[in-house]
Amino acid sequence: MFRQILYTQWRWSGTGIVAVSIAAFVLPILTVQEAGVTDPTWLDARQLLPAIEYWSWVYPVLALGTGLLAATTAWTHDHRGHHVYALSLPLPRWQYVLLRYSAGLVLLVVPVVLLWLGAMLAATMTVIPPGLHAYPHALALRFALAVLLAYSLLFAISSATTRTAGYVITVVVVLFVLQLLFRLAGSTTDLVSPLFDRLMTLPGPFQIFGGRWMLIDV
């Protein structure tokens, strides 16, 4: 049963998963190549760190995109058929949801592992200046947690009815529109920044997406 659910999800999202997996593998390598640290003459940490940091924003975006891809493709086809086929299968709804969720998780192992391999390869390719260290395992773990968080959250939203998903989107849009109106009216009221800070800094739930995503750091 699980194998078949996994297979359907692979059919729906396989191309996308392959694409993000390649991106995840290449990204760490690209980071060190762009930073020029494969060049043995580069031993200045003050120049190296900003160059590595330049790419750090791509990791959380890739994690978010990967989670989004796996979460939405898990439900798109059932939504299209108004869940009639899924609901007519002889298993409790919670079990079906769990199977779909688990199948998505299995698929997400691929980009996470490839990012880990890419990070380790990039670390071995790199001449690291004294005082700096490579963190391929930590980077991969952080990527895995961010993907897990993004996937879980978006899976829950996309598993709900279109109306529920609409409510979530509406709340976000209204918030940004209100902020824009305040700004146009010359008000200094800031709705978005404090909320963003609450969510993105400890103990905010999305803290994992913030901070430094550094393959090489002090």
Partner: protein, 300 residues
């Protein structure tokens, strides 16, 4: 005789304008039950309630002896379902869809699936999104039959199919029933189709059950009578008078449409000073139309 499906005082509101009201159905085990009704009468909603796809607002449902919705997975494991609009995953091929479906049913019969694939002329490697309407209908029927169900719930299974495909699908269905003592609940507005295969009939209109009886009783019981010298007031009839109209070409005569007719009832007309000139059998479609026409009369 036990019932494969039994609902009591079932109620469900759908939006602002439609509700299933006080629906009490009894589908005998082993029967082929035709669930008739015009479009929008509540057939699909009823089917979805029976299978636990919708939750009832009130009343009770028992399918294969188990309560719905609390025991839905066990019931669905023994039930084949062909929905009104097939909702299979379009990206899968026919063979993949069969493997996927089979994974959920311990009773899946691979041999039957292979036989039906050949019989229906389905190409296993073809994507579902590229199947014609007829092929999709055949595939749905194949999936339902290959899981060897005790109950088949078919919601307009042949709607929109050409006569050749319709015949193939129904023929496979009847073959299955002849091999197993399965119950079939088939919802349709194609009256002639049900007339040929069903032994029980239930008629829905506007969310209510208008009639439920053996097909033979339904067909035999509804008659068109040509009556001369009919009394202006009619009461205490031994049959149910569904409709009464001035007959064409009958001087002073009337046409009565009645339900529950039996030959000895002819004596009634002598008693009221009328003359029964002719008793005309109605086919199921005519009976169905007359039944609905009466039901929709104000005060019915």
């Amino acid at each position: 005789m036990s019932n494969a499906i039994e609902t009591k005082h079932l109620h469900r509101t759908m939006g602002k304008d439609f509700e299933i009201r006080d629906l009490s159905l009894s589908v005998p085990s082993g029967s082929i039950y035709g669930f008739l009704g015009p479009n929008g009468s509540g057939k699909t909603t009823t089917v979805r309630l029976l299978l636990g796809l919708l939750r009832p607002g009130g009343g009770s449902i028992a399918v294969l002896g188990r309560p719905i919705p609390s025991d839905v997975p066990r019931v669905l494991a023994r039930t084949g379902y062909v929905p009104e609009r097939p909702q299979l995953y379009g990206m899968l091929t026919v063979a993949e869809a069969m493997r996927y479906h089979a994974a959920f049913y311990s009773t899946w019969e691979e041999r039957r699936a292979e036989d039906l694939t050949a019989r229906f002329g389905l190409r296993p490697g073809l994507r579902i999104s590229r199947l014609s309407k007829g092929e999709t209908g055949k595939l749905m029927m194949l999936l339902s039959l290959a899981q060897s169900p005790d109950l088949l719930v078919l919601d307009e299974p042949t709607d929109g199919l050409d006569p050749v495909v319709r015949r193939e699908v129904l023929s496979a269905l009847l073959d299955y029933v002849s091999q197993r003592d399965a119950t079939i609940f088939i919802s349709s507005h194609l009256v002639h189709e049900l007339e040929r295969i069903c032994d029980w009939v239930g008629v829905m209109d506007a969310g209510r059950l208008v009639a439920e009886m053996p097909m033979q009783t339904f067909k035999n019981g509804i008659k068109r009578l040509r009556v001369a010298d009919a009394p202006s007031l009619v009461s205490d009839t031994p049959f149910v008078l569904l409709a009464r109209e001035t007959g064409d070409g009958l001087a002073g005569g009337e046409v009565w449409v009645v339900r529950g007719w039996q030959d000895p009832m002819k004596q009634y007309f002598e008693g009221v000073g009328a003359r029964l000139r002719e008793v005309v059998d109605l086919d199921l479609e005519e009976g169905f139309v007359e039944l609905l026409r009466t039901f929709r009369k104000p005060g019915a």
